[in-house]
Symmetry: C2
Subunit: 581 residues, 2 copies
């Protein structure tokens, strides 16, 4: 199409609200317009990118025997009550009543709708395995949407659900889907995406993976081992702390520690290393508000998700009042006594620590020389800690963990029977016994993927779209469109390229070359063709890739063929990477 | 794909809740499953149909220079407040608050979102005309959803919006879109769709058309002239009633009419024809609850929309209390005096009526012999009446109107400047003057179109899908799949047809031919290929169209080519009809 007909404006200034590049380029390049907080309209250029991404996803899902369906956006709350998520999910689930006063929700994921659709279909073992997917609008009422399309409230997502009669069968399919995901990201132009083990969070399953694009602007943290290649998100990465002190046991002493606010303050004041101190972190269970106290080594942070998973309940930071019996700031494992029900947990980071500094549960007092097994019973240690940069790799045991930032561009979950059990979906097995099918689920956000591609593929002037998802394959510039010869040759090339089924955006505006090229940079087509009087004097048409890696001076007659060859070459490069998986 | 892997069940019994055929076949054939009142999930078969319809729509919209965009499903109420529709639209607009207590709505149509997207883009005349469209989920909280996909609450719709600098330019584009619509319906396999003039309702414009599939199960009424071809919906069809009485004027008399409830009762009691009586219909304005009294000839019904359009306000049936001064049952144009503000309107059906029977605004009394111009001032008559079956055609003036039922499968509206004015979208014209652009809007519901195709194209066994939108082009049945030879030949045909890019659903289940064929009827592929031992004994493969119009006994070797030829023939037939427009 002609650029002067393209609905959208492009501009130079980076809007002040755009913190990350993909957001800035999507606004500056006429891809999106904010309608409300975290809610965007898509201009034609982005819609074209989205459709291409969706088609790549479709092809890969179809290849692994997925069947496309469509679930509703608006769902009756009753379905979510069946699964228990109407209660358990927070206010990111948008709840409202319809005109008949029925409680409804906006679908943020569709496990319930999927089980509802196939509950009867899956009544016999011989119908398994099967997989359904949809590409559909979701709404998640995020408290803090940010970063343009990276974290939004309304988004288009591919969500897929598979059903199996055994864990082995799920694992087989899960592995296939894993490969399909690698192919999808490679075909979308970012083979850089890595997989990391993850906690499955509210989905409630066991093994899961997130697909991450590593970038400093990512909002997720990932533990990566530089030595052995181990990768996990912070919830799944086991924190290993080894305390091998040959220190002599000292006497237990009650010492005064007035005005010392933090465990670091206390250790400084007592001149003890923080690595031999014990810190308390206090939460309350969502279910009954009872207190949960986690003791860790003073320098180690708690990972809330690990605590949640261990106690199988949601938690929130504690509100400590006088009646609780908690001596805030002086909580320690010895002499701890709360009023009412409470849970005490010990993180593995405390295992092997000797002569510990710990709160004495008495205002302005700490113990020193506290030792497990002597002063208090040796507790059971579990992993509740955040893995740290430079920490020990749970896979190769080297001190080789580094913490990276990443954007989650997809995830795959082994759900188990959480939904089939709660929603009572059963099948008869070969022996006529009723069984609950085992589920997997697999998500990719389309808009976030588009934004991630920009994050990975751009220069300071704009996106460098991979040819597989570029809004247009070719950006044709007629510099000096007032020159009859140049215009005629450019028009001709435009028509013949289009006739060959090539997607061309044609700029024949009467504007300066600088304006033309900065617009082309923002639109980011991988191939640029420049027809100008100056080039034509030399008998050539310039063909350059957006990333400047390839530059061809083609004769006017060969220009069309050169463009076609270049398109093929760029596609081949992408396919080659995808075929690695 | 293989039928035994297709996610969905098919069954014989017509569900009792299915009143119309398309609903029954969609449930029985495994196309849809109800999730809530008026909200459905789509199984793979329907999703395939929907995608094909969407692609036909896309191609036709792109041909008339439409650019595809995407607006959000969830919209801030502020946008609808700008246009005034947050107030004016009833409870079919779903309103709710998000977690930050911001008022939001679910988009049921996207004029506001569209103006929001292009308000800045359209700042100069030289960017006009332009058209945007999207295919996106809408939600309309219908009080009475019914008929499967015919009237739902959540639906997928193509909505398009065009912007112009003159009424002439809008009219030009409107005509193009009109043709595009005719092509869309023809390509979807129902060239039977007709266009009718319509009232533009809450869209607020002037000239509009609805595209209707005439069918007795339709929920809309349409006035059709059998003589001249005039067609209009009930709101747009001008009602013409001619009263040419040469009766002598009689004296005005006040007569007692006790216990007569309706105007028919009164006329019977007084032995006067109801055609010389005057009936009152009373509404109240939504804005201030003031009364609106419409007088019509006793046998004529009021069309509410005509009243609304005339007084430019919404109305509701009146609640008449004693304080109003209204003498319910005895309201008439003479001596009418209400307390407070009120509006009195006269329908054209009263024009020329002599010696009228009318209420005397006094309990148990009517007038007879009432005459306009003598007993009361000759009023201004306007058209507020429903056109009647057998009535006069406003186009050819013959008594040739018949009232038909239809399903509205699409509509096109000339919106004027309603939205651009209220939302302050302006452009500078050639002379540097600010102007409001003129809009058109154009809708097609995808699911309703699919259901309408079934209504038009089915037999008692199931849908007869046009090849252009059929879930699969070919249904291959291997009768007696336990026969090795038959199975090998069918497998071979399946593979070779698929390799040629033909969409085949392959039934190689070990079931009776009857089961196989009734499933094939419900899936409705236009071409059926039957491989069976009995056929193979004769050396043939049977190829029949779903509508039984074509039946071919092909040799095994020529079967593939025959199928391909038949597909081409069926597509050609559809294209030929589309090319008529």
């Amino acid at each position: 199409m002609k650029l002067d007909k393209l609905i959208s404006d492009r501009f130079k200034e980076r809007p002040s609200e755009c913190v990350i590049d993909s957001h800035a380029f999507m606004v500056r390049g006429g891809y999106i317009k904010a309608v409300a907080n975290g809610i965007y309209s898509q201009y034609p250029a982005l819609k074209r990118v989205s459709k291409k991404i969706e088609n790549i996803i479709r092809e890969e899902m179809d290849k692994i025997d997925g069947q496309e369906v469509l679930f509703p956006v608006v769902l009756p709350a009753s379905l979510w009550e069946e699964s228990g998520r109407f209660e358990s999910v927070g206010s990111e689930l948008l709840r409202f009543k319809d005109r008949n006063n029925s409680q409804m929700v906006l679908g943020m994921t569709h496990e319930e709708a999927c089980v509802h659709l196939v509950r009867e279909y899956g009544h016999s073992y011989n119908r398994y395995p099967f997989m359904l997917y949809q590409i559909q609008t979701k709404f998640r009422d995020e408290a803090r949407s940010r970063g343009g399309l990276i974290r939004v409230r309304e988004f288009n997502m591919k969500d897929a659900y598979s059903f199996h009669t055994s864990q082995e069968d799920l694992q087989d399919y899960y592995d296939k889907c894993f490969k399909a995901y690698q192919r999808i990201f490679a075909r979308a132009g970012i083979p850089e995406v890595i997989s990391v083990e993850s906690d499955s969070g509210m989905m409630g399953g066991s093994l899961s993976h997130e697909f991450m694009l590593l970038t400093p602007i990512g909002e997720d943290s990932i533990a990566v081992c530089e030595k052995c290649g181990y990768r996990a998100n912070m919830e799944a990465a086991k924190s290993i702390i080894v305390n091998n002190s040959d220190e002599q046991l000292k006497n237990l002493e009650l010492v005064k520690t007035p005005d010392q606010k933090t465990i670091e303050d206390v250790c400084n004041y007592l001149k003890k290393p923080v690595e031999s101190s014990c810190k308390a972190v206090v939460y309350q269970k969502d279910s009954d508000n009872s207190f949960v106290i986690i003791f860790t080594r003073g320098d180690i942070e708690v990972n809330e998700t690990k605590v949640k998973n261990f106690i199988k309940d949601n938690i929130h930071p504690a509100l400590i009042d006088e009646e609780s019996g908690i001596t805030a700031g002086f909580i320690g494992p010895k002499d701890l006594k709360l009023n009412g029900k409470y849970t005490v947990l010990f993180d593995s980071s405390l295992k092997g620590v000797k002569n510990i500094v710990a709160g004495a549960n008495k205002i302005d007092y700490h113990y020193t020389g506290l030792n497990f097994g002597r002063d208090i019973e040796e507790p059971q240690f579990n992993d509740f800690a955040k893995i740290i940069d430079g920490g020990i790799c749970p896979s190769c045991n080297e001190n080789s963990i580094s913490i990276k930032r990443g954007i989650e561009v997809g995830n795959i979950f082994q759900l188990g029977t959480k939904y089939t059990k709660s929603m009572n979906m059963q099948y008869l097995d070969k022996n006529g016994q009723s069984q609950y099918p085992i589920m997997g689920c697999y998500g990719i956000g389309v808009g976030r993927l588009a934004a991630s591609v920009i994050e990975e593929k751009h220069d300071k002037f704009g996106p460098i779209w991979p040819i597989s998802i570029a809004p247009w394959q070719v950006h044709l510039c007629c510099v000096r469109a007032d020159d009859k010869n140049a215009k005629a040759i450019a028009d001709n090339l435009y028509n013949s390229l289009q006739a060959s089924g090539i997607e061309v955006i044609y700029d024949d505006r009467d504007v300066r070359a600088g304006v033309m090229f900065s617009d082309a940079d923002l639109i980011g087509s991988p191939i640029r063709v420049i027809v100008s009087p100056r080039n034509l004097e030399k008998g050539i048409v310039e063909i350059v890739t957006r990333d400047k890696q390839i530059s061809i001076n083609a004769s006017v007659d060969s220009a069309e063929d050169e463009v076609k060859n270049l398109i093929k070459k760029l596609f081949d490069e992408i396919e080659e990477k995808a075929n690695n998986f």
